[in-house]
């Protein structure tokens, strides 16, 4: 099975995942990403969507599923790096956005 293209790094004991759009298309993204994040035993996780230029509401629902899965594991999660165009699309199509969002990784890590 192919490995994820999304890159994992650690910043102040938080797992930072630079999510790439291709990975969001995969059916196994949720558990693969959970495996990836838990492998470094972090205090929390940041999903950085900065590399994603076009994010549909369906893609964002996948992101919320990943967030929920990580929260079930017991990790607080922040989502960051959503660009203005994506923000407009998501806010237009999704009424209740159940994730904590920040501007970038720095702000996300600070706000834990």
């Amino acid at each position: 099975m192919k490995t994820l293209k999304s890159k994992l790094s650690s910043f102040e004991h938080k797992a930072v995942v630079d999510v790439v759009h291709g990975d969001l298309m995969r059916d196994d993204i949720c558990h693969k990403l959970c495996d990836l994040v838990t492998s470094i035993e972090p205090d929390g996780a940041v999903l950085n969507l900065q590399q994603i230029e076009v994010l549909t509401s369906d893609d964002f629902l996948k992101v919320t599923k990943i967030v929920s899965a990580l929260e079930v594991i017991g990790l607080p999660v922040m989502v960051c790096g959503i660009n203005p165009q994506c923000a407009l699309v998501i806010s237009a199509f999704i009424d209740d956005i159940p994730v904590r969002t920040e501007l970038d990784v720095k702000h996300a890590v600070q706000s834990f």
Binding site: L88, I90, S91, I97, L103, H107
Partner: protein, 170 residues
């Protein structure tokens, strides 16, 4: 005997009528273009003041009528500011807005939701009792909006949100 359609004078008048029709269409399209350009000039005239009142706090006073063009401009300017200035809280003061109807409320909700995704909180100030009553009567769901009656309250909330506390000096 030549048919009526082959009559040179009839053909000539038919050509003139066609040309007139084409010209009328051209005039109509140019009028539309002029109207569009005038609208663009009007919207360009609308200069939105963005006041950075403290570190990470932005204030946007809205005055006059609120429409989709203004709403779009407000949203774009706030987005730009979030990116450039790392704004965490945007206070939108609508005390100077003439009419707050469902369309204005919808625009404000849209701005608040989109900016929240970029990590910025929006506080709407200047909600008078009349506006509050209007919004309630319209049945708008404004639970996603953080609102205050006065600008003073909004600024206090904004300072709190970025970790400051306003204390009166002795």
């Amino acid at each position: 005997m030549a048919s009526l359609s082959n009559n040179p004078s009839s053909t000539k008048s038919g050509d003139v009528a066609k040309k007139a029709q084409i010209l009328e269409q051209e005039i109509a399209s140019q009028r539309t273009e002029i109207n569009d350009m005038q609208e663009q000039i009007e919207s360009a005239k609308f200069d939105l003041p963005l006041l950075k009142i403290a570190e990470q706090i932005l204030m946007v006073p809205l005055v006059g009528a609120m429409d989709s063009v203004k709403s779009q401009k407000v949203m774009e300017d706030i987005f730009w500011n979030i990116k450039q200035q790392e704004t965490k809280v945007a206070v939108i003061d609508i005390a100077g807005v003439n009419i707050v109807d469902s369309s204005v409320a919808t625009h404000l909700i849209k701005i608040a939701k989109a900016t929240r995704l970029m990590g910025c909180k929006v506080i709407i100030s200047g909600i008078s009792p009349v506006i509050a009553q209007n919004i309630v009567n319209l049945g708008m769901d404004v639970t996603t909006l953080e609102t205050t009656n006065t600008l003073k309250d909004a600024i206090a909330k904004a300072y709190n949100a970025v970790g400051y506390t306003l204390v009166k000096s002795e």
